[in-house]
Structure formats: C-alpha cells, structure tokens
C-alpha cells in the first residue's frame, strides 16, 4: 500500500485579499449611508470622486511601473483607500480636494513604496494629512448636519457646489457651514474659555456624531464577525483614548474635554475600526496590536488636546505606523515548542552584542 506524500500546507485558508477587502467595503456601507443621511450629498460626491481618482491613479502607476494590472486593480484595496479618505473629508469640499488626496495617497504613499503590502504608512491617512497641511482653508468646509436646521443641498446642488463652487441663489456659504464639535471645542479651549460652560457638546444638532459612530460600529461589528479584522487594535485604541482623556480630564476638567467627547466627537471609532486595522501598516502580533492600538489612542488625545490640529487620529496612525517594526520586533510570540522567545534572533540575522 502506498501513501501519497504531500508537502505542507495541508489545509488551505479560503481568505484572499479581495475577499477581505470586499468585507471591508460592505462594512463601510452603513456608515456611508448614515453620513449621507446626516451630512448631505456632498459625502457621496466625495466618495465617488476619491474612489474614481484612486482607481485611475493605481492603473496609471501600474502602467508606469510595468506591473500586471489585474491583481492590483481587482483586489479592491485601492477602492477602500479612496473611500476611507473621502469619509474623512469635509462635506462641502471642492471637487479637487478628494481627487488630489486620493492621487497622492495612491501614487506616493502606496505605489512608490512598491504597491499593496509594501507601504509603510496608511495611504488614506497620508492623503488626508497632505490635504490637511496643504489646504487648511478647504479642509474646514464642513457643512451643518442636514437635520441641524440649516438649509440643505439637493444632490444636483451639491454636485454643482463641488465642481463649480456655485451655490443656489439666495444661499450663502456661511448659512451652510458649521464648525465640527472638535473645532468648536478647540476654539473655546485656545481662547482660554471654560469648555464645560461654553455649550460645546456632541449632542448639539441632534447628536449626529453619535448616530454616525453607531453606523460605523455596526459595520465594524460585521467585519469582526466575518474575521476581516481582530478585536485587539480597536479595543486597545478606544482604551487608549479613554485612559488618556480621563487622565487629562481628571487633572483639569475645565481645560480638557471629557473622555466621552473624545470618543464620539471625532474620528476615533471610525479610525479604530477602519483605519488602524489596515492589515499592511498595522502591527502583526497579538501583543503588538494592543500596543499599536493603545499608542494611537493615546497620541490622538494628546494631539487633540495639546497640538495644533483639531483631530489627531490621522497623525497618531502615521506615527504609530513608524513604530510598527519596533513593536513587532519586541512582541514576537514564542516559537511553538519553546518556552520563551529567543531575543538573540535579530531580524537582520546578526547577533545582539
């Protein structure tokens, strides 16, 4: 009797890049619908522009680099880059804002580093930060939430505003726009005012940021259930935000916002579920993921509270991206069968002195 001998792996996993990315795309849908519902059609226009520009930029770069088109263009990762970037942009942005951001994200942050799997930094966050530091005025064009009492734009009017910068007769930009809760809090805080008494609250305008976060949470829960992401990074990031914000709030509750405000008032939930969990740029070991997420949460609150920009999620993610090789090195799990990890094996093959 003869037994066939095969080499490993004997059990193949069915997951593929395209499969995981499809799950993420579906998980983005509830949050996007909620954002369109709460913040107007401008969100949808941003998504379409950014996704289209990202896809075209990817195709152009693959052509320039003489790489095969099919794997990179059908794994849907570039669509997610564009989509996530678009959801970070203000809902009254001019058309070129999502386009420039998406092109920069794909060309510089992804393809110049070697394409999917090789990029050091989260491409969507690089695109966002480039827009934030380059076009500070355009990046503040936040419209009031749709149910906040301000006049709202129809789809055609929003498209007209995005492309031509023209508003319907009788509608002024000031009537449409409104500072985000984080912006308002920053204004009060930098002027030395008392945050608690200034009426800055996440509940104003019908608590729209709460509903938006719940919709993103639903998508994130689905990703967790499907196994597209793991719990470590989101949970650690939220804990990092709560702990750091709690400490600052405990020290001086008049100068710093409370932890719940930090959790809901900005991009923490969205960032924890969709940005920090990027499989390419996040830490890859279980303990490393906890460190990575906690670091992002801590840095986010510190940048918001002590830095120059209202939201710090993007900067925090990029800073922790830089730390990933170090985190992964110090959190390698023990090799199966060994009692403790062998620190003598350095990644570069040399022995430590």
């Amino acid at each position: 009797m003869k037994f066939p001998v095969e080499s490993s792996p004997h059990v193949e996993a069915s997951s593929s890049v395209a499969g995981v990315m499809t799950t993420v795309l579906w998980a983005l849908v509830p949050g996007t619908i909620a954002a369109v519902w709460l913040l107007g059609w401008g969100v949808l226009i941003n998504v379409l522009l950014a996704v289209g520009a990202a896809w075209l930029a990817e195709a152009a770069m693959l052509w320039l680099r003489a790489r095969p088109f099919k794997p990179a263009l059908t794994d849907r990762s570039v669509l997610i880059t564009g989509w996530i970037l678009a959801l970070c942009l203000p809902n009254l942005a001019p058309w070129w804002l999502p386009v420039v951001g998406a092109v920069f994200a794909v060309v510089v942050a992804k393809q110049l580093y070697g394409g999917i799997g090789y990029n050091l930094f989260n491409p969507a966050m690089v695109g966002y930060v480039v827009l934030l530091v380059s076009f500070p005025e355009a990046m503040t064009r936040w419209g009031a939430p749709v149910d906040g009492g301000a006049t709202s734009l129809s789809l055609a009017q929003a498209a007209q505003w995005s492309v031509f910068g023209a508003l319907p007769v009788g509608m002024g930009f000031d009537a449409l726009s409104q500072a985000t809760p984080l912006d308002q809090w920053r204004m009060v805080a930098t002027q030395g005012g008392e945050v608690a008494g200034a009426g800055v609250s996440i509940w104003q305008g019908g608590g729209w940021s709460l509903w938006l976060n719940l919709a993103f949470l639903a998508g994130g829960a689905w990703m967790l259930w499907r196994g597209a992401i793991r719990w470590h990074i989101p949970v650690a990031m939220v804990v990092g935000v709560l702990v750091t914000a709690g400490l600052l709030w405990g020290i001086d509750s008049e100068r710093f916002a409370d932890p719940l405000f930090h959790l809901i008032g900005g991009g923490v939930i969205f960032g924890a579920l969709f940005v920090a969990t990027d499989p390419v740029t996040a830490s890859t070991t279980p303990r490393g993921r906890l460190v990575f997420g906690f670091g992002i949460g801590t840095l986010t609150v510190l940048i918001r509270s002590l830095g120059n920009y209202p939201d710090g999620v993007a900067f925090a993610v990029l800073l922790m991206n830089l730390a990933v090789p170090l985190i992964d090195y110090y959190t390698r799990p023990a090799v199966f069968g060994r009692k403790r990890q062998n620190r003598d094996d350095r990644p570069d093959g040399k022995r430590e002195a």
Partner: protein, 233 residues
C-alpha cells in the same frame, strides 16, 4: 599621482558623481534653502565660491600640512573662506543675507566642501583642484536651483519671486506667476516637499542612466550580432 582629464572631472561633478544626486552630501542646506529659486541661487553661488576658493587654498598648502593635523587646518581654511563670503553677502545682498540666515555660516559644515578638500584638493595640483571645486559646486548648485524652482513653482506658483534680493532693483519684476494662486500646493514648501522633491530628482537621474545603459547594451549586441541576453531581466 597622475592628473585626471578635465572632461572626466566635469562629467563626474555635474552628473556621474553629482554631490547632491549621487553622493547625497550637503542635505541640510539642500533641503532647507530650496524653497524658492532666488534663495537656491544665492546659496548655490555661495557654496560654489567656497568650494573653488577652499579647494584652491588647500591644494596650495598641501605639501606643508602634516597629515596628523590636516583636518583642523582644512576646517580653518574653509571657515575663513565662509566668513569672507558671509561678510560680502551682508554688505552687498543684505536682504538675501537675512533670508538665508544661519545657512550661510553653516556652509562650513557642508560635507561636500571638506570631502573635496580631503578627497581631491589635498592630492592634486592647484589648477585641477580649482576646476574640481567649480564643477562640484556647479553640480550641487544646479540640483539646488532645480529643486528650488520645482518647489517655488508648485508651492507659490511663481518663479524667481523676490529676485531683487539677489540682482538689485532692476530685477523687481523678474518674478513670474505661472500657476494661479488657487492652484498652489503648500506641501511643496514644507520639509516633506523637499524630501519628496529630492527623491523624485534622484529617481529621475537613475531612470535616465538605466535607459542609457540599456540602449548602450542593445547597440553593442546589435553590432556584434550576438543574440540579445538580458541579464538584468
């Protein structure tokens, strides 16, 4: 030591061994001062003059300087030259002097200058050393000016803005606006823009070199009639 040919020296400094694109020396002024064309031209000329004079002086004294003390002597020579240039700029190009600020005295620490003094001028005759200083300075300066032009164009939308700082009141209207103000990209003016711009310039040089070597290989194989074997793949 046998003296090199001048054409080889020129090719080395301007292209093959370009201080900015290949040796990647003097990054600090290259990245910090390349935000406008005029700043870049000012620093490029200052660096070039420093290189020429310091190379010449080092070459002149090369037979009297003992090897044990050569580096302090070279640094003293370079520092004296830079001090002279700093005083001249303060006297004749005062507003440019104010704009460039600390980066004029910092020319002393530019690694290109000590590298050429140690690597070339201390072993070659005065004429060759002066010529080497000139082509190396020109190679560095051209990259600096190119980068300055790129960054000013993308970041401000202008070229040669503020030329009167360098060329006097005649040049007050030399600055041209090429892109409208709404189309400028502020990132180019910031430090990341300098790094990305220099990276693109280096990549561009590599692409040209690779293309040339591919062509040369193809021409060679075509002449010898052998089948084309692409070893690089």
């Amino acid at each position: 030591m046998s003296e090199p040919r001048l054409s080889e020296l020129a090719l080395d400094g301007l292209w093959k061994n370009n201080p900015a694109l290949v040796q990647v020396l003097g990054l600090c002024p290259l990245l910090a001062i390349s935000n406008t064309t005029v700043n870049a031209i000012g620093l490029a000329v200052a660096t070039l003059v420093t290189l020429v004079v310091s190379n010449g002086v080092v070459s002149m004294i090369r037979d009297w300087v003992r090897p044990e003390v050569r580096l302090p002597v070279y640094v003293m020579v370079i520092a004296s030259v830079v001090t002279i240039i700093e005083l001249i700029m303060n006297a004749y190009f005062h507003s440019l002097y104010n704009t460039l600020g600390i980066f004029i005295p910092l020319i002393v620490t530019n690694c290109i200058i000590i590298a050429r003094a140690e690597g070339f001028a201390s072993r070659h005759a005065v004429g060759f050393s002066v010529f080497d200083g000139f082509v190396m300075g020109a190679g560095f300066g051209l990259v600096l000016i190119t980068l300055g032009g790129m960054r000013e164009l993308i970041g401000f939308g202008t070229l040669l803005g503020g030329a009167e700082q360098l060329f006097g009141p005649v040049a007050a209207d030399w600055g041209v606006r090429i892109l409208p103000e709404q189309m400028t990209f502020m990132l180019a003016l910031m430090p990341p823009g300098a790094f990305i711009g220099l990276g693109l310039l280096i990549a561009f040089k590599q692409a040209i070199d690779q293309r040339a070597s591919r062509r040369a290989r193809a021409a060679q194989t075509a002449r010898s009639g052998e089948p084309v074997v692409d070893a690089v793949g």
